[in-house]
Point group: C2
Chain length 213, copies 2
């Protein structure tokens, strides 16, 4: 499988974590978003949405959108499972993931911040305040949901890493970049520390990628 991605992209990062947790190897294809390589015609032919990540299967099928790809991984490569078995617990874990996937990450990604800089003359403090607003709102909700979950363990849900951790860790990384003070969320910080011990998360980290820099 070919993984089209960028070391610092949060959606690429979450997909790399899922792939490493599943023990799946991929060929790493880097697209430098800073050079707008994702906007070139050859990548548009691979992913019409011109966003990373995309996963090209051996038969040529291209999967796009990290939430769709990660659910596909769970269906095609069920072990180790990223989701619990019980549907209510699955809904809880998917809700944690969706808070990041829908209500934090897309609002802070590259194309949005470029729009703010270009059309609203936003400087770096204004951009950090924008990102901090949505990260804080989402993390406040996640922290409350983690506190209320009787099955919280070393990780977001239970004592093995799962879907919620896959989404949360890249968002914590991004929060650090936007200078958000993480001490406000001790449970999220504890999950982050637990994940940092695991090889799958270390190998998927932006700084560990061949295009990092």
């Amino acid at each position: 499988m070919k993984l089209y991605n960028f070391f610092r992209s949060g959606t690429s990062h979450r997909l790399r974590i899922a792939l490493h947790l599943k023990g799946l190897d991929t060929e790493y294809v880097a697209l430098d978003l800073r050079k707008e390589e994702h906007l070139q015609a050859d990548f548009k032919a691979i992913n019409p949405q011109q966003l990373v990540p995309a996963l090209a299967l051996r038969d040529g099928t291209v999967l796009i959108q990290s939430p769709a790809i990660i659910e596909w991984l769970e269906e095609r490569h069920p072990n180790p499972a990223l989701l619990p078995r019980d549907p209510d617990a699955r809904a809880h874990v998917r809700a944690l993931a969706s808070i990041v996937a829908c209500d934090i990450h897309p609002i802070n990604n590259r194309r949005i911040l470029e729009y703010l800089r270009k059309n609203f003359s936003a400087d770096s403090d204004t951009v950090n305040a924008w990102c901090g607003t949505w990260i804080s709102a989402g993390f406040d909700a996640i922290e409350t949901l983690l506190a209320a979950d009787r099955q919280r363990g070393d990780f977001c849900h239970g004592n093995t890493p799962g879907l919620a951790d896959v989404y949360l860790i890249p968002q914590v990384e991004s929060a650090r970049r936007f200078k958000v003070d993480l001490t406000r969320w001790p449970l999220i910080s504890a999950v982050d520390a637990a994940c940092a011990q695991l090889q799958a998360f270390r190998h998927a980290a932006p700084s560990a990628q061949p295009d990092a820099g």
Copy 2:
């Protein structure tokens, strides 16, 4: 089940469509977002994220985040199915849904537009241009993906309504509100017309809700 929602909320709308397609009745609980009823303490106790929709089950469990709730519906009430059986096809349909769920809707929702008005002094033309940018980028990608799908039928994928339609139709409704010209996307428009014939979509429409106005 109690459905906490708001007639005009796109995420509420998509969940209502899924519930109607599954033939499930709910008790409708309206929260008027214009009066900030979702920001009151009593709703925060139900959903710490203070967003609609939320679905309270008979045992008191509250499900939040429409993508998580819709996957739960598919698991607990599998018939009629909203997703195809084949994992690659499921990934395709989920990708279409995710383009709306992650890369269009959250960027244009109420709290973001309020921030633009308040912090960037955005007027209604500026807000419409903002929304039009993200709707157009997403719809361009969806239109291309629909054109390339050999299993496209009357609906996004095949000849029965499914997950992609559940997400797409509320976004089309929202595009109309933000004065986006839909003639640019004939395949999306055809799906919209097909869905408009179905009772599940009619009953889920914002204008058909008790709090509409």
